[in-house]
């Protein structure tokens, strides 16, 4: 791939300082630690991790909503923090987001039309006259039919699934090239989740966007990536620990953390579920973010850890078809 990737993160690190009042000492939290990856055009990237691992922070960094402490975010080959004002707003128009909670991401005192139209008019995607028709089209595109029923509705008169479709419509309204979907389907009920993923993939086919699909749900991310083209990345305490094409990370995980995660996920099949071994962990407690372990961050819980794991930070390296950050990877294959 000689082409310039749509988005590239290079050794991106983001720290937050919390506390620091008259009685408490300020603590430094490393939310994202030296993360590097690329998103190609029309490629999907799944970012998988447990709550608090920094996956949302990484998503915000790629959108330019947070500025990294070190490292670069490049969009179409250009460092987004070196762009001029015009270039940056151009980037922000091309990079959109769908948040986790549809209930709080729509303004409750605006109708759906009022939520969708201003951004399109302001960005001169459509004229004020055409806006009505464009919003109608958008709504039917995301399956809210007939659109006339929804245009003048307030969010309080819609279900969670319908609201999530509106936030998707809003995200694609400016025809972006990159969308961060931050736990976009996690709040939906089981019977609606697959439908929402299908809709996202359908929009991708029409408009050629790339998704960064952030989730904690192994199963849904596998469904998402199997139906499209892309890769999956696993994050633990701010570091990417495993990256693999397609659903290979779920199918044959290498990193001990990914393996244990997979073994912990309940399987909707009584016979398989009851025959599975209990994952062996050295410690059940997740280390606190302000004092992440030295060396490999997983070594305090890893059943395979040896001396080197507590002293040296493992870097992502190629193991088979994947990138894995583990000193012992290769022995596990």
């Amino acid at each position: 791939m000689t082409e310039v990737p749509l988005l590239r993160a290079e050794s991106v690190t983001k720290t937050f300082i919390v506390g620091g009042g008259p009685l408490t000492k300020a603590k430094v939290i490393k939310a994202v630690d030296q993360a590097s990856f690329t998103v190609e055009r029309e490629e999907n990237v799944v970012l998988l991790g447990e709550s608090g691992c920094g996956k949302s922070t990484l998503g915000k960094l790629t959108l330019g909503l947070l500025k990294p402490n070190s490292g670069r975010i490049e969009y179409e080959g250009k460092d987004i923090w070196a762009l001029d004002k015009r270039g940056f707003s151009d980037f922000r128009r091309n990079a959109q987001v769908v948040h986790q909670d549809p209930y709080t991401s729509l303004n409750p005192v605006r109708t759906i039309y009022q939520s969708l139209a201003p951004a399109m008019i302001q960005n001169k995607a459509v004229s004020a006259k055409e806006a009505y028709n464009s919003v109608r089209e958008l709504l039917s595109l995301v399956g809210l039919v007939p659109p006339e029923d929804f245009l003048d509705r307030y969010p309080s008169r819609m279900s969670g699934g319908q609201m999530q479709r509106v936030t998707l419509a809003r995200a694609i309204s400016l025809r972006p090239k990159y969308i961060v979907a931050d736990e976009a389907v996690s709040m939906l009920d089981a019977s609606l989740r697959l439908g929402a993923v299908d809709l996202m993939l359908d929009l991708q086919k029409r408009f050629g966007v790339s998704y960064l699909f952030i989730t904690h749900d192994f199963g849904i991310s596998r469904y998402f990536i199997k139906k499209s083209r892309g890769k999956m990345m696993v994050m633990y305490l701010g570091s990417l620990v495993e990256i693999g094409d397609g659903d290979s990370v779920v199918r044959s995980p290498i990193h001990p953390y990914t393996r244990i995660l997979k073994e912990s996920i309940p399987v909707p099949d009584p016979k398989i579920a009851r025959g599975r071994p209990i994952p062996q962990l050295r410690s059940l407690e997740i280390p606190r973010l302000e004092e992440t372990p030295s060396g490999c961050k997983f070594h305090t819980r890893c059943p395979h850890a040896i001396d080197i794991c507590s002293t040296e930070v493992p870097l992502l390296r190629r193991v088979g078809t994947k990138l894995v950050a583990c000193h012992l990877a290769g022995q596990f294959l």
């Binding site: 447990e50 709550s51 279900s159 699934g161 319908q162 009920d189 089981a190 019977s191 609606l192 989740r193 697959l194 439908g195 993923v197 299908d198 904690h216 192994f218 199963g219 849904i220 596998r222 469904y223 199997k226 779920v250 244990i260 995660l261 997979k262 073994e263 912990s264 996920i265 309940p266 399987v267 909707p268 099949d269 009584p270 016979k271 398989i272 579920a273 009851r274 209990i278 994952p279 962990l281 059940l284 407690e285 997740i286």
Partner: protein, 319 residues
């Protein structure tokens, strides 16, 4: 052991009456783990609360009966209720680990739980707490003297489960016990629940929106949709031979991490509006097999053989 018959629970909401539970029948047997599965708003939590007779102020029981070992729960006096709660049936509410009092130590919580049940000495409570905390794999010596903020989320959840078992209830109700735990902790907690069950022989009612953990822990599964039980049978029957179209649809929409998982299908249509539920069978607008009769007549919960129950007009044809 527990018999629910024709139970209807309504709520007064601005738009009218919301029937959270609608003419529902359910049994829980001795020494069994029942998984109660349903999506948000189907009334599963309301059902659990009503079993303990704790219904929100805007809710009311509009008919039906709850019998626990032939005692009529809904007509119990204040005193009887106090004895019934926690020593016959106890509940771990959704998000219960946030309900620990921040200024009380774990041991004080244990004492507090037993206050309204006479005849327990401090020594008895201490001994019983030790035993239970060990059962949930906590270091009881250290944990009893701690305040909630000194414990992690997973530890708090285990403390709450131990509290619920303190008075040796015959039935333990767990309402979405996993919803705020991370995946590794979830798995561990599930194992602990299986252990508790083995050691105490208590029955459990395990309420969740997620079918997957049910496959591991339940003996029997009841599937709830829009205030009614649509199917109830043994766990293998539900997973390998589901009869109700809703159960089938739900099963085929869970992506699994094992196997190839190719034949996944999303369930069409939105969830029903509980204030204005669809006529007849509530699932008919989303059902692939619906006929005219389905929109007119509500199917009864009938025996489909082998102790299985299903509420569908067409279950015989759909093999």
């Amino acid at each position: 052991m527990l018999k629910v018959r024709g139970l209807t629970v309504g709520f007064r909401v601005p738009r009218g009456i919301l029937k959270a539970v609608d003419n529902l029948d359910l049994d829980v047997y001795e020494n069994e783990v029942l998984g109660l599965v349903g999506e948000s708003g189907c009334g599963k939590s309301v059902l659990a609360h009503t079993i303990l007779k704790v219904v929100d102020p805007n809710g009311f029981v509009d008919g039906g009966q709850i019998l626990f070992e032939d005692k009529d729960v809904l007509n119990m006096s204040h005193d009887e209720l106090r004895k019934y709660r926690w020593s016959d049936v106890s509940i771990v509410f959704q998000g219960a680990f946030n309900s620990l009092n921040p200024v009380m130590k774990v041991f004080e919580h244990m004492v507090d739980t037993t206050v309204s049940h006479e005849g327990r000495t401090k020594e008895w409570i201490k001994e019983r707490s030790n035993e239970l905390l060990q059962m949930v794999r906590l270091d009881s010596g250290a944990v009893l003297g701690r305040y909630p903020h000194e414990l992690s989320g997973g530890m708090k959840q285990r403390v709450v489960a131990a509290m619920a078992m303190l008075l040796k209830p015959k039935l333990l109700i767990l309402d979405e016990p996993f919803s705020a735990l991370d995946m590794l902790t979830q798995k561990f907690f599930l194992k602990i629940l299986i252990d508790i069950r083995k050691q105490t022989g208590a029955s459990m009612m395990f309420i969740t929106h997620d079918l997957a953990p049910v496959a591991e822990i339940a003996d029997r599964v009841a599937v709830m949709y829009c205030g009614v039980i649509v199917e109830a049978s043994g766990v293998n029957e539900i997973f390998y031979n589901p009869k109700h179209p809703y159960t089938r649809a739900l099963l085929s929409s869970i992506p699994s991490v094992v196997g190839e998982a190719e034949d996944l299908r999303p369930v069409p249509g939105p969830l029903p509006d509980p204030v204005n539920p669809p006529s007849g069978c509530a699932f008919h607008p989303r059902c692939l097999y619906a006929t005219d009769a389905c929109s007119k007549l509500r199917p009864p919960l009938e025996n489909s053989g082998g102790g299985s129950l299903v509420a569908c007009h067409r279950w015989r044809e759909l093999r």
